[in-house]
């Protein structure tokens, strides 16, 4: 009993730690006062003004498109790469994995700066495309590393069996291999999506004046006082994701036998 109580207490403390700032942000989104330092009474007006604020809406739009497209392209390149690397001999495989690990191990600031230097040297104007290229670059390893373990677990016999039973290699690929590695691809995609959504440093160094993601927008606003509309926006996003995750989770829980034994 004591142990049980302690466990719960501990989880509670950690969750409080993780969620305290989020509660603060949600509370601030209802704060009448423009300054975050004082409470001016309850209001919903920031939610209304949010949709009038072109700058923020544009930043949101850019952020989502960026996350969506970069994760997608990274998933395609990364999955293809995973197949190829998986079938390589030991030495080239080792080199490839080493290169893949660079953006993951390297500091964001170094990755961002190195890409900026490249774009500037090529006289490539900094803007949406440069940020997109940068995001794809740091997303690929996440996809690759999600897909690789699944590929390693594949049983090659099923693929051969399918072909023995008369399936064409392409058909066998879609029917036998893809379903097995799909969870890896999907989790790679979502991982990449999340990373792109949350990235600040690399975007900060590779962006031009024309675009802002939510992160860079917020960073410039940190200095001069965050607009309460930003709090409203993040509250909406948070609640939306919460609902989405609950729905997905419930559906999964109905369908699946518990994953662990």
């Amino acid at each position: 009993m004591v142990k049980n109580f302690f466990s719960r207490f501990y989880i509670g403390i950690i969750l409080l730690f993780l969620y305290a700032p989020i509660i603060i942000l949600i509370v601030l989104s209802f704060n009448q006062s423009k300054s975050r330092a004082k409470w001016g009474g309850f209001t919903l007006k920031w939610y209304g003004e949010l949709f009038q604020n072109d700058d923020i809406m544009r930043a949101l739009y850019t952020t989502l498109i960026l996350a969506f497209v970069s994760a997608l392209i990274a998933t395609i390149i990364g999955t293809a790469g995973a197949f190829a690397i998986n079938s390589m001999k030991k030495t080239p495989r080792f080199i490839m994995m080493g290169v893949t690990n660079i953006p993951m191990l390297n500091a964001d600031i170094v990755t961002g700066i190195s890409l900026m230097l490249l774009f500037v040297a090529l006289r490539f104007s900094l803007g949406f495309t440069s940020v997109l290229l940068a995001h794809i670059t740091f997303n690929i390893p996440y996809v690759l590393l999600s897909v690789m373990p699944k590929l390693k677990q594949l049983n090659p016999n099923t693929f051969e069996a399918a072909q023995d039973l008369g399936a064409s290699p392409i058909y066998a690929f879609f029917k036998v291999i893809l379903p097995d590695i799909l969870p890896g691809i999907i989790s790679g995609y979502f991982l990449a999506f999340t990373m792109s959504l949350d990235d600040f440093v690399i975007t900060y160094f590779t962006k031009g004046p024309e675009i802002n993601t939510l992160s860079t927008k917020i960073y410039t606003e940190v200095r001069k006082g965050i607009k309460p509309e930003i709090y409203a926006l993040s509250t909406i996003m948070f609640v939306a994701i919460l609902i989405l995750l609950i729905l997905v989770n419930r559906k999964n829980a109905d369908k699946h036998v518990p994953i662990r034994k």
Binding site: I65, V69, F174, L178, P209, T220
Partner: protein, 351 residues
Amino acid sequence: MKKLAVLLIALTLCSAMLIGCSEDTSEKVYVYNWGEYMDPDVRDQFEEETGIKVVYDEFQTNEEMYPKIKENAVQYDVVCPSDYMIQKMIEDDLLAEIDFSKVPNLSNIDQTYLDSSKSFDAANKYSVPYCWGTVGILYNKTMVDEPIDSWASLFDEKYSGNILMIDSVRDAYAIALKYLGYNINSTDKAQIEEATKLLQSQYPLVQAYVVDQVRDKMIGGEAALGVIYSGEAIYTQRENPDLEYVVPKEGSNVWIDGWVIPKNCKNKENAEAFINFMCRPDIALKNFEYITYSTPNKAAREMITDEDIKNSTVAFPEQSVLERCTTFSYLGSELEAFYNDEWNKVKSGTN
């Protein structure tokens, strides 16, 4: 599975098209301005009236702005640096001469400010004054027990942890140099080093080094004293009536920010149209009411309806205050680097 693949491809194409559509080819003007230094409505109005799209970007210090222009990574059309930085950019041959036949609204600018601009732009060829002001102390009346009138308070241990110092090299050194009784454009390394010592002794007393953040923190009562540009004072007083702005008796810096056009700009005519628009009395007034920085636009000043603000000594200080103040001038790249190194020493807390 095929359906999924098709769906993914379709979505990619759609988003690619969305990106394609958002890159319109209409006329643009790239504006690079200080943070929170223009009413967003003014930008919208400019877009509506001229059909020129404003691409707007912000910087926090002159030093941060300069390399962006110099390195040519981004081609801005209109930039708003301060006095000494304009001088530096002229000397480094980064600015284009403004074609004043395209800026007829210049006549609204008070001649006084054009004259004082000559200290950094000798023939008034490269810049058009946008805002001006002083640097001073904003203090919270409830948190100090004496009238603040000297920079000395910023170095007073009594206020340890209650001081917000400005995070901008020239402004910080201007304060230290003025307090020590030197010229804010000092070129004497011994004097600068003495200022460094003073600023280092201040380091433990400072709560944070800030620029734009000082506003929110002072409104929230986070600190007793903060170094601030005069234009922010009216806004903060509106939000928190306990706050008071003072230009210390030792004197301070008086600055002018002006619009300039970099040589590598892409849309010079649009830039001139934008500058002209900013000089229009109704626009200057609208801007002034939003950002509350003193405007050099005499026609706009006459249109101010709020008597308190029209006669505010914060927005429009008396001559006696201005006589104590000095304008920055550019000191050359070697001294500039020296100042930067010294300032870094201060901020890192090493001795």
